[in-house]
């Protein structure tokens, strides 16, 4: 098996970090994925970099970009079991969270895999909360296929799927954010492949590195981006090739394509982004909770003073939000970026204070 200590080799880390100290221009790199935000905090990468190299967090936390109206819609459902990944439980809706609603008697179950929701549906009418990026989507699509094969009419999925490349494009078309490169998500790319990002250098003149989550993965990716900027040669590089290949996982892509279809999606605080989500195809309509329960999502973020939406777009870093640490913390989160352990605010609270 792969010897992880080699990905944490202090001697090589030191050489790359020392070398990066010579970088003398401002450089802004966005880490798209919440797991990278966590890894950067965990390994103390920000503190290793010179002040002019900044890492800013992007929209890569699926729970954070889900409109809060989804929570309100779920809470209003009657006589149905809600199966969800644990992250979703504490996301505030307009009045309460699913956790509060569960305390009042709503049947909410935390599952590790969508397949567990299928088991629950053998006894009870069950709705699975379909939140996730490309990493998570194939497993949920496969679960819908299995529900159809097993004629499990008690089962449905509320599709709130999001796609990463269209969101990056939407970000790049906003003029306020000037980026020099992307740290591209490792496990999203297992499914879609490094080729999914070719548009970034071709259309927007900005490069990126698909990176793993070990300190040398991340530092090497940053070093590659500095080389690209220095030579003015933006490109997509796959540093995480032990897991990611250029074209992605075709089997997973085929399952997605069989069950789901591209559609516009509502991103919390960002708004509608064309072709950035997936809905359930007509052939599988009976498993589509948005049809079964007539659920439509609206972008109502309320007026709490929470600046999660600016954090998601990389406009501010969490400590610049007036609520951060003062009234908003992991025990009492005001916005979703503090709820999910991979949200930028939660990561900053844990590692960067």
């Amino acid at each position: 098996m792969i010897d992880l200590s080699k990905y944490r080799d202090p001697k090589i880390i030191k050489r790359i970090v020392e070398d990066l100290q010579h970088w003398d221009k401002p450089l802004k790199i966005m880490e798209v994925c919440g797991s990278h935000t966590m890894a950067i905090g965990h390994w103390g990468i920000r503190k290793m970099l010179p002040k002019n190299i900044s890492l800013i967090s992007g929209p890569g936390c699926p729970v954070c970009v889900t409109p809060s109206s989804l929570i309100d819609e779920l809470i209003n459902l009657k006589n149905v079991t809600i199966a969800t990944f644990g992250d979703v439980l504490r996301v505030p809706g307009k009045d309460e969270t699913l956790e509060h609603a569960r305390a009042r008697g709503l049947d909410v179950r935390i599952v590790y895999s969508p397949l567990e929701a299928l088991e629950i549906a053998k006894d009870k009418e069950t709705i699975f909360v379909g939140i996730g990026f490309e990493t998570t989507i194939p497993g949920i699509a496969q679960t819908i296929l299995m529900a159809k094969q097993q004629k499990l009419h008690n089962f449905s999925v509320l599709p709130a799927f999001k796609l990463v490349p269209p969101a990056l494009e939407a970000l790049l078309s906003e003029e306020e954010i000037k980026l020099d490169g992307f740290l591209l998500p490792g496990h999203v790319s297992v499914i879609i492949g490094a080729e999914a990002y070719m548009l970034l250098p071709e259309k927007y003149g900005i490069g990126g590195v698909v990176s793993g989550f070990e300190p040398l993965d991340i530092l090497t990716a940053i070093k590659i981006i500095t080389e690209q900027v220095k030579n003015n040669k933006p490109a997509i590089v796959n540093e995480y090739n032990r897991v990611v290949n250029f074209v992605g996982n075709k089997n997973a892509q085929n399952v997605i394509d069989k069950v789901l279809k591209t559609e516009d999606a509502l991103w919390r605080g960002i708004g509608w982004i064309p072709d950035s989500g997936l809905g359930i195809r007509k052939e599988f309509e009976e498993f589509d909770a948005s049809k079964k329960y007539n659920i439509t999502l609206t972008d109502e973020t309320g007026n709490t003073g929470c600046r999660c939406t600016d954090v998601l777009k990389g406009k501010i870093i969490p400590p610049e939000c007036p609520l951060f640490e003062k009234v908003c913390n992991p025990a009492n989160p005001i916005g979703p970026c503090m709820v999910s352990s991979e949200g930028s605010c939660a990561a900053y609270y844990k590692y960067e204070r």
Binding site: K6, H22, T220, K230, S340, E342
Partner: protein
């Protein structure tokens, strides 16, 4: 949420199997990696094997680290 972890395959029967996840045995589906074999390491997420981990490519990445550490910024 996109956290995926390496796990070693200890049993495989068609599309289903068991992996060893740091000493804990967990059920897994090989829907997306039908070519995986017992003894392979896979990257696992929500009960599915997303890909087989390539040891050869892992060694290539280690070489990349060395190269990057050698590059002098001028």
């Amino acid at each position: 949420m996109c956290l995926a972890i390496p796990a070693k395959i200890v049993e495989k029967d068609g599309e289903k199997g068991i992996v060893n996840l740091g000493g804990v045995k967990k059920e897994i589906m090989f829907t997306f990696t039908p070519e995986a074999e017992i003894g392979d390491w896979v990257i696992m997420h929500t009960g599915f094997a997303l890909n087989i981990i390539s040891e050869e490519d892992a060694n290539e990445t280690l070489k990349l680290f060395e190269e990057m550490a050698m590059l002098e910024d001028d």
